[in-house]
C-alpha cells in the first residue's frame, strides 16, 4: 500500500511549509506555536510536500490549513473528520491531518470524531483544546469546566465537560495522546509519534486562547508549578513527576495514589506504576486524572495499540474481489442477468 513512510530526506525545510497568507490569529494565541512546531516536523517525516493534506472544520484553530503550504481544505463546522475520511479512502497514499477545535471536534463534530476513531483510518487528529469557542467570541465549549461564566452562560455553564482522552478511549481509539502549546519539544515529539502510528491518532493539544479564556492551562504552563501538575508519560517508564522527580503514581489494589519517594516511608521506585501504553485499564485510569485536582495531568502518549486499518482492509477487499471475480468489465455486467434479444 502506501510507501510514504519509507521515503527518506527530501531536502525540505520549515520554510517550505509557510504560505503567503497573513496569519489572522490574535497576537499571543497558542495556535502560533502549534503551527510552528508542525511546520518544523513535517520536513523530517520523509513525505513529499504534495502528499500532505490538512483538513479542518470551522473555528480559529481551523484556519490552520491556510497557513501551511500543503494541500488543504478549510471545510465546514464539525465535518473535517468525515471529509478527511473520504479523502484518505480515496487516496491512502496521502498523509492526512485533521486540525480541529474543542467545539468543532467535540460539539457539532463529536459524532464524526468518535466514528473516525473506531474506524481507525490512518489519519492524525490534532484537537486544539482551548476550552472555549474562540471564533464566535467566547461561548463555553464541551470542554469548559462546569460553572463556566461566558456570554452564553452568564450564571455559569451547567454541563459537565468531556474529557477528550477518555472519550477517545471509549471510542476504541488506537492512539491517544496529549500535549501543550507551550511545550514545543513535546509537541514535536507527539506529532511525530502520531504520524508514526498506523491508524487514527488522536492528539489533544491544550491551547491558550488569550482573548476569551486566558490562563485556562496556567497551572500546566507556569514554569514555577507545572512540574507538580503534569506527569509526562513514557512507555515502560515509572510514572514519576514533581519538581525533584520525587512523586510517583502507585496502585493500591486498583486505586491510584500519589507517593513521595523522598518523604513516604517504605516506598521505593519499585512501588511506582510503570506506564504501559498498550493497556486500556492503565490508560483509562490515567485519563481519569484529567479533571482531578488530586492527580497530575498526564501528557504524552496515554494509549497506543495496533489494530487493523480501515483503508487497508478496503484495499484488500478490492484486491480479493479482483482476484476472485476478475477485474470488473462494465459491458459484461450490463449484459448479465436475464437477457433477451429483440430481432
Amino acid at each position: 500500500m502506501t510507501d510514504i513512510k519509507k521515503i527518506k530526506s527530501l531536502d525540505l525545510s520549515r520554510m517550505d511549509f509557510v504560505t503567503n497568507q497573513s496569519l489572522k490569529w490574535c497576537p499571543g494565541c497558542g495556535d502560533y506555536s502549534i503551527l510552528k512546531q508542525t511546520q518544523r516536523i513535517l520536513p523530517e517525516l520523509g513525505v513529499p510536500k504534495e502528499k500532505f493534506l490538512f483538513i479542518s472544520g470551522i473555528g480559529c484553530s481551523s484556519r490552520f490549513p491556510y497557513y501551511i503550504n500543503t494541500y488543504g481544505f478549510h471545510t465546514i463546522h464539525g465535518r473535517a473528520t468525515a471529509i478527511a475520511s473520504g479523502a484518505k479512502l480515496a487516496n491512502p497514499d496521502l498523509s492526512v491531518w485533521v486540525v480541529t477545535g474543542d467545539g468543532d471536534a467535540l460539539s457539532i463534530g463529536g459524532n464524526h470524531t468518535i466514528h473516525l476513531m473506531r474506524r481507525n483510518l490512518d489519519i492524525n487528529i490534532l484537537l486544539f483544546n482551548n476550552r472555549i469557542y474562540g471564533l464566535t467570541k467566547g461561548q463555553y465549549s464541551p470542554t469548559s469546566e462546569l460553572g463556566k461564566v461566558t456570554k452564553s452562560t452568564p450564571m455559569g455553564s451547567l454541563d459537565r465537560p468531556f474529557n477528550p482522552t477518555s472519550l477517545a478511549l471509549g471510542s476504541q481509539a488506537t492512539f491517544v495522546a496529549r500535549t501543550i502549546d507551550r511545550n514545543p519539544k513535546h509537541i514535536q515529539s507527539i506529532l511525530k509519534s502520531a504520524y508514526e502510528h498506523k491508524g487514527t491518532s488522536f492528539v489533544e493539544i491544550y491551547q491558550n486562547c488569550n482573548i476569551f479564556n486566558n490562563g485556562a492551562f496556567k497551572d500546566l504552563t507556569d514554569k514555577k508549578i507545572l512540574s507538580e501538575n503534569i506527569i509526562q508519560l513514557e512507555h515502560g517508564q515509572p510514572m514519576i513527576f514533581g519538581k525533584n522527580h520525587n512523586l510517583g503514581i502507585h496502585l493500591d489494589g486498583y486505586t491510584p495514589k500519589i507517593i513521595d519517594l523522598n518523604k513516604d516511608d517504605n516506598v521505593s521506585i519499585d512501588d511506582v506504576l510503570v506506564h504501559n501504553e498498550k493497556d486500556i485499564v492503565i490508560a483509562s485510569m490515567l485519563s481519569s486524572f484529567t479533571y482531578n485536582d488530586n492527580f497530575p495531568t498526564p501528557i504524552g502518549i496515554i494509549y497506543s495499540v495496533d489494530e487493523p486499518i480501515y483503508e487497508d482492509m478496503l484495499q484488500d477487499q478490492i484486491n480479493t474481489a479482483i482476484e476472485k471475480q476478475g477485474k470488473g468489465d462494465i459491458q459484461n455486467l450490463l449484459n448479465s442477468g436475464n437477457i433477451w434479444e429483440v430481432k
Binding site: 513529499p48 481544505f73 465546514i76 471529509i83 475520511s85 487516496n91 466514528h115 433477451w340 429483440v342
Partner: protein, 615 residues
C-alpha cells in the same frame, strides 16, 4: 381439454397482493421476467409496507406488486388492474376498489377464515356472501390446501410447504397468459441450489397452479398478449436503483476516475449503496457513513482527491446534506447527489413515491446556491440520468442532483442494454502545471464553461487550499470584499446557467402548438405520455413536453410554452414545477396535484384535460 377460449388482448394489468410474508414481490418479479423474455413491453410497480413484517393478516401488512404488460409500447404500470391476485382477505379489501369493472379476482380462499376476515374488517366472507358476484369474475381457490397436497412426501416443514402457495398463483397466471414456466424453474434451481427439497416443492406448486388452470373448468378464457415490437437489440429488465448504480459505474469507466460512494441507508435509496458495494472488483469504494452528513462529506473529500464521488439518499437525508452541498458549491467540486424521493414531510410515507423534493433540489439551500438538477423519466432512464449527472459534474466542477423517486427506484421496465463504446467519453483533465505565472490559480476559470481547474492532492507544485469562505476570483484566496463577492455570486450563477447551452433541443410530442400542453417531469412522464396518446385517439389537439432538466431549464422552453393555450402540469406534489415554470416564464400554468404516494393515473390526467378543454 376443457373448452377455454383464447382471447387476444393488447395489454393486461395484474396486481399481486398478499401478506408481507406471502412473497408477492418475488411472484411479481418472476412473472415480470417471463413476460419480458417473452417479448412484451412492460412496466412494474412494487408497493410494500414500511414495517419489516407487519402483523399477519392486517391491512397494513399487505405487500403489492403491479405489472402492466402489453404488445404495444407502454409507459406506466397501469391505472387499474384487470386481475387482482388476493392472497388473503386484507389484500382483497385493500385493493378491490382499484379493480376494473368485470375484472378478475383470484383469491386464496384458504386464508378467508374468521380471524383474517376480522383483521381485514369484513363482517362476512366476500367470496361467499355474493357481494362480488355480479361485478367481477371471482376465482376462489384453496391454494394452501392444494400445495400441501402437491408437496406430499417432500421432506420439508409444513411452513415451507405453505410458503409455496405464491408459486401456485404464479403457475396459474402463467397458464392464463400462456407463459412458459422455464425461466422460473431455472431461477428456482439457481436460487435454492443447496436446498433441493425446496426446489422440488416450489416446482411442484408452480406446476400445480399451471395444471389447475388447465384441468379445472373454472376458467372460461385464456389470454394472449402478443410480443411488442420493441426496437431490436439486447434487453434486460431493470429497476431505477440498479440503473443508477450502473450509470455511475459507466461514468467512472468513461471518465477513467475511480468511483467513490459515501452514504447512509435510507428507504428507498439504500439499494444503490448495496449494489455499488458489491462491485469491489470494479475498484468501487463504498463507505457506509455514520449519517447522511458524513456520507456527503466523505464524498466531498474524495472529490477533492480526484474521484468520481457520489452519494444517494431520500428527502430527510437530503435535508441533512444541505449544508455540505453549500461547501461543494463554494469549493466548486464535482459530486453526484441522488435523491430517491419518497412521501413526506418528515418520515412521512417512507416506502411510497412522491415528487415533492423539487423545491428542495432547486432552491433548498441557504444563500444563492445554484445546483443543476436532472430527473430521470423511467426506471431505465435512471442509468442515463446518473451518467449525464456525472458528465455535468465533472465538466462544470459542480455538485449535480439526480431526482429519482420511489416508483422509479423500485419499478422496472425492459431496458435496451447500452453499448459502452457508444457512450461518450468523459474528459477529465487534472492540472499538473502552473496555470498562472509561477503559481497555481485554483479559481482561474475555463472561459467557456466557467469551470475552475481540478488539481488533486499528490500533484507536485500545485499545493493549494480550498474552503468555504468566499473566494477571491482567480486566486481562490479568502476574500471578504464587496465587489468580489458580487462577482463570484454572479460567476457561480452564470456557470450553472451555461449548462443549458449544451442541452439537446426540447422535444414536443404532438403538435408544436395546440390547445393544451401537458408538461411533466420525472416519473410522471409515463402517465403524461399515456394520457396524451389516449387524447390523441379522441382526436384532441393536445401535446406533451417532458422535462429532463429542472435546473437550469432548457433555453428553448420559453418559446415552446408560448405556443399553447393551456399548460397543465401533473405532479405528485402540491405544485412545485408549476411554481418554477410560472416564475421563469410568467405563464399561467395550471397544476394537477395528486399526492397519494402512487403514480398519478393517466385516466385522471385525461379527465382533467377534458375538463379544461370543456369536453
Amino acid at each position: 381439454m376443457p373448452k377455454t377460449k383464447i382471447k387476444h388482448v393488447d395489454h393486461v394489468v395484474i396486481r399481486f397482493a398478499g401478506d408481507s410474508g406471502d412473497g408477492m414481490q418475488l411472484t411479481g418479479s418472476r412473472f415480470t421476467d417471463s413476460t419480458a423474455i417473452f417479448g412484451n413491453d412492460l412496466s412494474t410497480l412494487p408497493d410494500y409496507p414500511a414495517e419489516i413484517r407487519a402483523p399477519a393478516g392486517s391491512l397494513a401488512g399487505v405487500s403489492v406488486f403491479q405489472l402492466h404488460f402489453s404488445s404495444q409500447d407502454i409507459h406506466t404500470p397501469g391505472d387499474q388492474p384487470d386481475v387482482l391476485v388476493a392472497m388473503n382477505p386484507a389484500a382483497l379489501k385493500g385493493h378491490l376498489a382499484d379493480l376494473e369493472p368485470n375484472g378478475i379476482i383470484i383469491a386464496n380462499s384458504d386464508t378467508f377464515n374468521k380471524k383474517n376476515l376480522h383483521l381485514a374488517g369484513y363482517e362476512s366472507n366476500p367470496l361467499e356472501d355474493g357481494s362480488l358476484e355480479n361485478e367481477y369474475e371471482v376465482h376462489a381457490i384453496r391454494m394452501t390446501s392444494l400445495v400441501i397436497k402437491a408437496c406430499k412426501n417432500i421432506d420439508i416443514s409444513l411452513k415451507d410447504v405453505e410458503r409455496t402457495k405464491n408459486m401456485f398463483a404464479l403457475g396459474l397466471l402463467f397458464w392464463m397468459y400462456n407463459r412458459s414456466t422455464d425461466t422460473t424453474i431455472q431461477w428456482l434451481q439457481k436460487k435454492f441450489k443447496s436446498k433441493p427439497a425446496i426446489i422440488e416443492a416450489n416446482t411442484r406448486a408452480l406446476y400445480a397452479g399451471y395444471h389447475y388452470g388447465d384441468t379445472t373448468e373454472m376458467f372460461t378464457s385464456r389470454y394472449t398478449v402478443e410480443k411488442a415490437t420493441l426496437p431490436p437489440g439486447k434487453y434486460r429488465n431493470i429497476n431505477g436503483n440498479y440503473a443508477i448504480s450502473l450509470g455511475l459505474l459507466a461514468a467512472a469507466e468513461k471518465s477513467g476516475l475511480p468511483l467513490f460512494f459515501g452514504g447512509y441507508p435510507i428507504t428507498p435509496a439504500s439499494e444503490i449503496l448495496h449494489y455499488l458495494a458489491s462491485y469491489r472488483n470494479f475498484g468501487v469504494k463504498t463507505f457506509q457513513a455514520e449519517d447522511e452528513i458524513a456520507g456527503i462529506s466523505a464524498a466531498i473529500g474524495a472529490s477533492f482527491i480526484g474521484n468520481l464521488a457520489c452519494t444517494a439518499t431520500s428527502g430527510p437525508g437530503m435535508a441533512l446534506k444541505t449544508e455540505a452541498l453549500g461547501l461543494a458549491i463554494m469549493a466548486e467540486l464535482p459530486l453526484v447527489v441522488v435523491n430517491v424521493q419518497r412521501g413526506g414531510p418528515s418520515t412521512g410515507l417512507p416506502t411510497k413515491t412522491e415528487q415533492s423534493d423539487l423545491f428542495q433540489a432547486v432552491m433548498g439551500r441557504n444563500a444563492d446556491a445554484p445546483i443543476p438538477v436532472i430527473a430521470p423519466s423511467t426506471p431505465g432512464d435512471c442509468f442515463y440520468a446518473a451518467f449525464e449527472a456525472s458528465q455535468i459534474a465533472i465538466k462544470y466542477m459542480t455538485p449535480v442532483i439526480v431526482l429519482s423517486d420511489g416508483y422509479l427506484a423500485n419499478g422496472s421496465e425492459p431496458w435496451p442494454i447500452p453499448k459502452m463504446d457508444e457512450l461518450p467519453k468523459i474528459d477529465v483533465k487534472f492540472e499538473t502545471e502552473y496555470n498562472g505565472k509561477d503559481k497555481y490559480l485554483p479559481y482561474k476559470r475555463n472561459k467557456q464553461t466557467l469551470a475552475r481547474p481540478w488539481a488533486i492532492p499528490g500533484t507536485p507544485k500545485l499545493e493549494h487550499r480550498l474552503g468555504g469562505l468566499e473566494k477571491e476570483d482567480v486566486t481562490g484566496d479568502v476574500n471578504y470584499e464587496a465587489d468580489n463577492h458580487h462577482l463570484m455570486t454572479t460567476l457561480r450563477a452564470q456557470k450553472i446557467a451555461n449548462i443549458a447551452n449544451n442541452y439537446p433541443p426540447t422535444k414536443v410530442f404532438g403538435k408544436d402548438n395546440s390547445d393544451l400542453l401537458i408538461l411533466t417531469w420525472g416519473s410522471t412522464f409515463g402517465p403524461g405520455r399515456v394520457a396524451v396518446e389516449r387524447l390523441h385517439k379522441d382526436k384532441l389537439n393536445v401535446s406533451h413536453v417532458h422535462l429532463r432538466y429542472l435546473n437550469p431549464l432548457p433555453i428553448d422552453l420559453g418559446g415552446i410554452l408560448k405556443k399553447f393555450k393551456h399548460i397543465l402540469i401533473p405532479e405528485i406534489n402540491t405544485g412545485q414545477l408549476r411554481t418554477i415554470i410560472r416564475a421563469q416564464y410568467v405563464v399561467d400554468a395550471k397544476g394537477l396535484n395528486i399526492v397519494r404516494g402512487r403514480p398519478i393515473r393517466a385516466s385522471v390526467i385525461v379527465n382533467r384535460v377534458k375538463k379544461i378543454l370543456g369536453i
